[in-house]
């Protein structure tokens, strides 16, 4: 995924919560536009980081059975701190409720332990064959690709977290 706004997943509890990190580098091309004299991570990319972490949580919690997990709503999302090159944005997402295909999450992000952003998001998980009547092979391909990317992001979970993962069905899911 070239638009990855996460570098690693650092903690994961299926059906509950996830933590992940995004490091901002001055070499990100878009920083020359946002802004030419004040390079900072755009607020919507902080949202994208929190959405992507939520997406992995929902995918993994649903055993990667859905090909699509999309952002339906973002609410009361505040941007209080600027992420500057060299900073790490640590995001945390927590499932508040699940209703059918819809998952409601509380999300937040911090820099050096200081709150930088937070709010609520709603994501929708589904298969394209069910919603748009496309060839199920497309869903299968998507699920495969996402599983691969997820493994890469999780490869860096520390040993303690890996041990915790070994005790839940996630590893089997990601194989």
């Amino acid at each position: 995924m070239r638009f990855s706004q996460l570098d690693r997943i650092t903690a994961l509890e299926l059906g509950k919560s996830i933590s992940a990190v995004k490091c901002l580098s001055l070499s990100e091309e878009y920083l020359q536009d946002h802004f030419p004299r004040f390079p900072v991570m755009p607020g919507v990319l902080m949202l994208e980081s929190m959405f992507q972490a939520s997406m992995w949580l929902v995918r993994a919690s649903g055993k990667f059975e859905k090909s699509s997990v999309v952002l339906r709503e973002g609410k009361s999302l505040k941007f209080q701190g600027f992420v500057q090159p060299g900073d790490s944005l640590v995001v945390h997402c927590e499932i508040k409720s699940v209703e059918g295909s819809i998952t409601n999450l509380k999300v937040s992000g911090e820099i050096n332990g200081k709150s930088a952003t937070g709010g609520r998001i709603i994501v929708d998980a589904f298969n394209l064959a069910d919603r748009q009547g496309v060839d199920p092979a497309i869903d299968e391909y998507m699920k495969h690709k996402f599983r691969m990317t997820f493994k890469r992001l999780c490869n860096q979970l520390d040993t303690q977290n890996l041990a915790a993962l070994a005790n839940n069905p996630l590893l089997a899911v990601a194989q």
Partner: protein
């Protein structure tokens, strides 16, 4: 990946409303491999497109001198995804304002059908905490506004065209005089 999330303005009425279009292409870096297999334009950059439309509408009220940033996504909602080949039409309106921020609401249409709605809050960087911070170099900022055709469609409340602000004209002249 650059950071232009609208292709051009189609309407711009100072202090009131602005409309812009965004075409979705497979060759965009964010689209390519975002959901490989059935790629789409991420909702976050759709929000950014509407934020750029609204942020420049807010910024124009100070002749683009106030350092306007997105402070809050009060609400945002999307009904479907925007796939390569689709055309998005954004429209934003200034809703309310106090000394701290400006609220802007907006809608997005996909190929002419309702696609999303949004409510955003913008704030200007305060001088206390951001004393010597400048976001754009004025001639570069002006070039961006020209690229987006803002001055070609922009009008003031009385219908007269929005002129390029004097400080930008001067910065452009200074830039062209180098070398």
């Amino acid at each position: 990946m650059r950071w232009f999330w609208i292709d051009r303005f189609t309407e711009f009425v100072s202090g009131k409303t602005a409309a812009a279009i965004k075409c979705v292409s497979q060759s965009e870096e964010v689209v390519d491999e975002y959901a490989p297999g059935r790629t789409y334009l991420p909702a976050s950059v759709i929000i950014e497109g509407m934020a750029q439309t609204g942020g420049l509408l807010v910024g124009q009220m100070s002749d683009f001198k106030a350092r306007i940033v997105l402070a809050k996504i009060t609400s945002s909602k999307f009904y479907c995804e925007a796939y390569p080949g689709d055309i998005l039409n954004y429209r934003v309106e200034i809703q309310s304002q106090d000394g701290i921020g400006t609220m802007v609401n907006g809608t997005s249409q996909l190929n002419g059908k309702p696609h999303g709605e949004i409510n955003l809050m913008f704030a200007a960087l305060d001088d206390e905490r951001f004393t010597n911070v400048e976001l754009f170099e004025p001639s570069q900022f002006c070039r961006m506004l020209r690229l987006l055709r803002l001055f070609e469609v922009g009008v003031n409340a009385d219908g007269s065209p929005i002129a390029v602000p004097r400080h930008m004209v001067e910065a452009e002249k200074a830039y062209l005089s180098i070398g």
